[in-house]
Subunit: 389 residues, 2 copies
């Protein structure tokens, strides 16, 4: 097990009706709130009104900025930074999914910084101060509600780049599974693929002697694989919704990655897809992850066999463990298919995908080789895109 430092200070308020507590928690940290959200769904569902009421009950002033899109844009975050400065905002309440929260994180470090906020994502500066953030979560997927990461798309590239920092881990996150009842099946499934990918990125490691964290990863993956189809089949199954909502948070709060180095190549490979095609992150991962697995499987057949056996219950083939390993990858593909995720680029309706592969592969490696489990260059990534076709 490798040395590690773990910090996860977000207070999780979980369960039915908890969105009414947003104002009271926000009031612990600020007086004037930037209410940040995406499209109109929170207005249609009534959540917007409930949150506004809660802020008002807590005696808080607020200004608002909606319009966050999937693959959140730098331009909107910059607008948020200007608005927050002009209005003297001292706390941000993100109401939405990972995109809204990631955008809020970008704003939180941009407000007190004199330079352009992209400096942080471009590794030209390290954030030293941030406004506090609270979350009312509506999409279980990215885990951003208690993670230390923010992924922003700079339209001027386009580049989709992640940043990690303890400084913008949310102060609190309100998770009410009922708020996810209205998620379309595609988004629920895409979220499940995303959270599963967060665990798999950590699971595929070269670290040895990581028994407990292996087992915790396997527990999370099995819970996601068991409950996501239930939630898709019956969108108002509170318990299935609750299991995947809590799974999404634990999949990406770093807990299950402690003492080991994760891989993350699949995320980078998918980010380039997301930057060009603006596709749902989870759907992209459902395509890329199995292809990545096929490409790197021989690097550690034992680990892939353990994945197959412990996560999907594939019987271990003592005489040919590679069979077990490959069957695990096949089962993962079948799981994604069972929740109507695409598993091939050719299924995803992406114009000119073949022609774009070389450029996406080049952009994925523009800063460094990708992946820790296996280091991948642009040629490797091209091959993975082709395996995913």
């Amino acid at each position: 097990m490798e040395n590690f430092s773990f910090l996860n200070p977000t207070r999780i308020i979980f369960g039915r009706g908890t969105q009414s507590e947003a104002g009271a928690y926000a009031a612990k940290y600020g007086k004037k709130v930037l209410l940040h959200y995406g499209g109109g769904s929170i207005k249609r569902s009534g959540l917007y009104d409930q949150v506004v009421q809660s802020l008002s009950d807590a005696g808080l002033e607020f200004v608002e900025l909606g319009g966050v899109q999937p693959n959140p844009r730098l331009t909107l975050a910059k607008k948020g930074i200007e608005l927050a400065r002009a209005e003297g905002v001292d706390f941000i309440l993100a109401v939405g999914g990972g995109s809204v929260i990631d955008s809020a994180k970008c704003i939180s470090i941009g407000v007190p910084y004199e330079g352009g906020v992209w400096d942080f994502y471009d590794r030209k500066a390290v954030p030293g101060k941030a406004l506090g953030i609270g979350v009312v979560l509506t999409i279980p997927a990215a885990g951003s509600e208690s993670s230390d990461s923010s992924v922003i798309t700079n339209e001027d590239g386009p580049y989709k780049t992640g940043l990690s920092s303890d400084i913008f881990i949310p102060k609190f996150a309100i998770l009410n599974p009922e708020l996810t009842y209205t998620l379309p099946a595609y988004q629920t499934a895409s979220g499940a693929a995303d959270m599963l990918a967060h665990v798999m990125e950590r699971y595929f490691t070269n670290a040895r002697d990581v028994d407990l964290s292996d087992k915790l990863c396997e527990a999370l993956m099995r819970a996601i694989i068991h409950n996501a189809p239930l939630a898709i089949k019956n969108p108002e199954d509170y318990n299935a919704r609750a299991e995947i909502m809590w799974s999404a948070t634990l999949a990406h709060n770093n807990l299950v990655g402690m003492g080991r180095v994760g891989d993350w190549a699949s995320h980078h490979i998918q980010h380039e897809l997301g930057a060009v095609y603006d596709m749902a992150h989870g759907a992209g991962l459902a395509i890329i992850f199995p292809a990545w697995m096929k490409y790197v499987c021989k690097h550690d057949v034992t680990r892939f066999a353990q994945f197959a056996n412990k996560v999907f219950g594939v019987e271990y083939d003592f005489w040919n463990p590679e069979n077990t390993a490959l069957e695990g990858i096949a089962r993962l593909e079948r799981f994604f298919e069972s929740i109507d995720m695409p598993i091939r680029l050719s299924q995803a309706g992406l114009p000119d995908i073949e022609a774009n592969i070389p450029l996406m592969a080049k952009k994925a490696t523009r800063k460094a080789l990708q992946g820790q489990f296996v280091k991948l260059g642009a040629e490797d990534i091209e091959k993975i895109y082709h395996l995913a076709m």
Copy 2:
């Protein structure tokens, strides 16, 4: 799944050599430290000198109070409170195991409180302020390094009573598995029993639809059961020591108990033993838990059968699940025996134990019935003590 609120803000600094960081972390919170510890073992091992050096390197002043005993005493904590007040201490560094940390927590809330600190444990007051606490852990067992609980023995009873509060959750905890190499086998085993009990208290619940947390509990239990014997067999097995050290923390930071109501009767039943006989907490739990299980098994055979199957790999008897359930309890006893834990009161050399049972049972229920899975009165608890004979 039940509504819950989860907060676990302790920064964990885990791995080889990390004790040298104690001063730097303490300096984030205070200027004058109370260095709190137990007997002479940290002086013999050199840890005391390393920590003092680290405090000095960080420019911190300190005063010290050693002498914390297992089942930490109110009298010593009161002495610490007086010392901290007299010396203007603003931070407590606990170097030791659960007893030292629990004593530090008692001191932390006693210093700013005008009344007697037992008021909090006796539920006559609720702590509103506390000094910050940091930990250098030497015994993986109690999980107090990031838990919200403190158990203190008031010699004037004797009463052994626990208190939970977010306010004294440690700011940071330094966990170096190397510091546990010198633990005697008995203490390692007793620690393993303690951490396993913390998970089992949460596992045996009447809450339904707790799939993820069941799986996380099972992952932790299997990791403890696999690694504790390795650490006992080879005390310098870094990886086994690391697995149980991290397991102990996760077993009691509330994570695996979210969305469910734990039982905790076995802890209360053991606390009375600890108060009268001053026996190692884990050893007492190794005796009490199986007896409690036998007494309550019929209340939920399915849950006990799941425990047997998922934790000990007992094949599920579809036609007679109670057989599976009972075999799980038997396997737990065998596990405790394999690490040289007592599993019967009669093995533990406790003078007048038979005669003391009625009084201990009465004291265990002096405030209320015990247990949430099954509510137990004094008569039930007497029977459990007898089952444990």
